[in-house]
């Protein structure tokens, strides 16, 4: 039987959740026995080359590129798992949601901030190749259907591992206190 195929991505996140995924220590050897990776920063496959069983998403959506990638994941993965607070609630990037409009954010970042230098033409980046910024940061489940969420900032390696193993084996997930506490 072929191994389950896993894809991962980091959207508007800090890659901390991916670091946590790598924090499974020597179990990474078990992992590559257990699953095959497709599109993922772990193996640097940039686009989907086959349909996947599990998509792991870190981060929410702050721009049109994030939305595009997330929709691709929904299209190509049977099960989507969001890991971490940013994907689940918007997280730290969503701090911009309540306090300022996106226009104010852009003006502060590119025009008005004391650290802005050498932008004499007063340009807010506008190249067509750049992703378009969204009016606010959206959690993934507002854009596509998400099947499972693993909370934490970042979720503990053991939580990600246990969830992944449960998904692949179909066994009940092991959730001891140590794995879901956040301090």
């Amino acid at each position: 039987m072929s191994k389950p195929v896993v894809a991962t991505t980091s959207l508007a996140g800090c890659f901390g959740c991916h670091m946590s995924l790598l924090d499974i220590d020597e179990r990474i050897l078990d992992l590559i026995e257990l699953v095959e990776f497709n599109k993922s920063p772990i193996d640097d496959i940039k686009t989907f080359t086959k349909e996947c069983d599990i998509g792991i998403i870190e981060g929410g959506c702050c721009n049109s590129e994030n939305v595009h990638v997330l929709k691709e994941f929904r299209k190509h993965c049977k099960t989507l798992v969001v890991i971490g607070e940013c994907g689940r609630t918007g997280g730290l990037p969503a701090m911009r949601n309540n306090n300022a409009s996106i226009t104010e954010c852009l003006e502060e970042a590119y025009l008005n901030c004391v650290s802005v230098q050498a932008n004499d033409e007063k340009i807010i980046p506008n190249d067509d190749e750049l992703p378009m910024i969204l009016d606010r940061v959206y959690p993934c489940n507002e854009v596509v259907k998400i099947d499972y969420f693993l909370p934490g900032c970042a979720p503990r390696a053991d939580l990600i591992w246990n969830a992944l193993v449960a998904l692949v084996t179909g066994d009940e997930m092991n959730l001891p206190y140590e794995v879901v506490k956040y301090d």
Binding site: K71, D128, I133, L134, V143, V144
Partner: protein, 604 residues
């Protein structure tokens, strides 16, 4: 507390509204620079100056030996306090469900047109400010507004135009025609009936030993009339037995549950009975001080009630050596506009000059209450009933009502019916009895016990209103068939809880907003069955809140899912378990405009 209803979110304008130093010091001296009287001090400054500016905050903090933030956190909690802009006339228009039913929208529109600003703002000349406020206890005479502590009821666009003209002309608020509160007692029962002289109950009470008095109340099976239904005698017994330097009686007249107005009527019609009940409670638990905690919405009653107190003092029914047995006096403590202060421990915090945040319990107020001393907090109606119970005996009282709910209940009835008002009824009547009595036809739903209670459907109209079945503090709102129950009622109630949450517990502060978001999604036609399941599931989280407000904040949604499931189901999308409301085109519009580029949607 969410402040968008208050004046606070507006930038202070200039210097014309500061309270001058000499009047501030007079106010501080009146309250002996006592930090526990911060509420009174803030109310006095607000009244004098129309707002409480930073300069005054600093002075108050210095005089009371508090930090500036101590003063600011109390100031910012209550929505009738303003820390900045001031209007000569501050119009607070009720935005509760029944106000909306009775035509609030037209009234609000007329105010906005005539004043020339939208709600939440003050006219440019600083004369008139328009603000929304939660239920002001006038459900039987809506639409109604409070303007500089005076209540204007049964507003019509014509009335509003006249009022605005007079305000623009600078007329004194007392000379503006239309300020009028009706009592609307539609059914008088044994408690409201004036069949004993003032002081008779108290005289009989002091002839008994306090323990015997408490036993008599226990025999009557009287339970708290605020809604929770805790046995009154047990509360008094615990309080009497608790050790402390002093004991206190507090009368809870915060009456913030939308749809409730019976305490206003009792305090207007039978104030002596309430004060007499407080004195009896004082004798029973061994207290010499009583505090009537009155909601700020009823500030217009102040001089009337002070006069009643004075008269009772002159008759030696209050003060020292009452009937040669004990000392007891009462002061009135006003709130500042906060529903949560109806919760007894929040009420105590507020009376001590702090934010009205409920305390952790235990210890309960009967052990550590006001000033950390044993305190009995009783509802206005409970204390009134005590006077009659002592006068006529527990046996008489027990002969009224049902076994588990003895006596009578004052019901505040409003909404879609011919005869809204206060009805005193023997416990044990059914919802149908009420509807027949008040002339309600084509009824879709009845909200029993206000937003925190239960919204029942016609199949349940034969249920009994009593502690053993549909328990209530007395608010009944009748909702006719023509109303959109989910949009007009449930959404309004949910917004009310978001507004009034003290913000201390996360589920109450945050989940209420999640509830509203889900409800609005369903109302937009984008809900799925899973949204209903999620809202039911969240109830467990709501139970982890600290106080009754938090426990019941989702009740408008939860009880209507239970009793009106078909209204939700009709709006749900079938054959799918997920609907996204995300719209890429709309989401990128603003940033593209700011950057000066064309959105490239690329077929997304």
């Amino acid at each position: 507390m969410d402040n968008h209803k208050s004046q606070k979110s507006f930038v202070a304008d200039g210097n014309h509204c500061s309270c001058d130093c000499s009047s501030l010091h007079t106010i501080l001296a009146k309250y002996d620079n006592d930090s526990s009287r911060l509420m009174d001090i803030l109310i006095a400054v607000q009244e004098k100056a129309g707002c409480i500016q930073e300069k005054a905050v600093k002075e108050i903090a210095k005089a009371l030996n508090l930090s500036k933030v101590d003063v600011e956190q109390t100031l910012s909690f209550y929505h009738f306090f303003s820390d900045g802009a001031k209007a000569d006339y501050a119009v607070y228009l009720n935005d509760s469900v029944v106000a909306e039913m009775m035509g609030r929208e037209d009234i609000a529109k007329t105010f906005e047109e005539e004043v020339g600003v939208t709600f939440g703002k003050i006219s440019e000349d600083g004369k008139i400010g328009l603000f929304n406020t939660s239920c002001i206890g006038m459900n039987d005479q809506e639409p109604a507004a409070i303007i500089n502590q005076r209540v204007f009821t049964k507003l019509t666009p014509e009335k509003v135009r006249k009022i605005v003209i007079e305000m623009k002309n600078g007329k004194s608020i007392d000379d503006i025609v239309g300020s009028n509160v009706e009592n609307n007692i539609k059914k008088q029962g044994p408690i409201l009936t004036k069949d004993i002289e003032v002081g008779e109950g108290l005289k009989k009470a002091v002839e008994m030993k306090p323990e015997t008095l408490i036993e008599e109340v226990r025999q009557s099976n009287l339970r708290g009339r605020g809604g929770a239904g805790f046995p009154t005698a047990m509360k008094w017994k615990f309080c009497r037995e608790a050790a402390g330097d002093k004991h206190f009686v507090m009368c809870n007249a915060d009456e913030g549950e939308p749809g409730t107005f019976k305490d206003r009527v009792i305090l207007t019609e039978r104030p002596e009975m309430v004060f007499e009940g407080m004195a009896i409670a004082g004798y029973a638990i061994g207290a010499e001080e009583g505090i009537l905690y009155l909601r700020y919405e009823y500030k217009y009653m102040q001089s009337f009630l002070e006069n009643v107190l004075q008269e009772m003092r002159s008759k030696k029914l209050l003060g020292e050596n009452i009937f040669g047995k004990f000392n007891f006096d009462i002061r009135i403590q006003f709130g500042g506009g906060a529903y949560v202060c109806g919760e007894e421990s929040a009420l105590i915090e507020s009376a001590e000059g702090k934010r009205g945040e409920p305390r952790d319990r235990p210890p309960f107020p009967v052990v550590k209450g006001y000033m950390q001393q044993p305190t009995s907090v009783n509802n206005v109606e409970t204390l009134s009933a005590v006077v009659k119970i002592i006068n006529k005996g527990a046996k008489w009282y027990r002969s009224l009502g049902t076994i588990d709910s003895t006596g009578t209940k004052l019901m505040s009835i409003s909404g879609d019916c011919e005869k809204p008002g206060v009805y005193e009824m023997e416990w044990g009547f059914t919802v149908n009895d009420i509807l027949q009595m008040v002339g309600a036809k084509d009824v879709q739903a009845v909200q029993i016990g206000g937003p925190s209670g239960n919204c029942v459907n016609p199949a349940q109209f034969n249920r009994k209103v009593a502690y053993e079945d549909l328990s209530t503090g007395g608010a009944i709102i009748i909702i006719g068939k023509e109303r959109d129950l989910l949009k007009d009622v449930v959404l309004n109630f949910t917004n009310f809880f978001i507004e009034e949450s003290c913000g201390s517990c996360v589920p109450c502060r945050a989940m209420t907003v999640q509830y509203r978001n889900r409800l609005e999604k369903i109302l937009r036609g984008n809900g799925v069955a899973k949204d209903i399941e999620a809202m039911l599931e969240w109830e467990k989280v709501m139970k982890t809140n600290r106080c009754g407000l938090g426990h019941s904040a989702a009740n408008p949604i939860l009880t209507t899912i239970q009793n009106f499931r078909e209204l939700y189901d009709a709006k749900l999308q079938k054959d799918t378990d997920y609907v996204s409301e995300f719209n890429l085109e709309a989401a990128v519009q603003e940033s593209c405009k700011a950057a000066g580029r064309q959105p490239n949607l690329g077929g997304e």
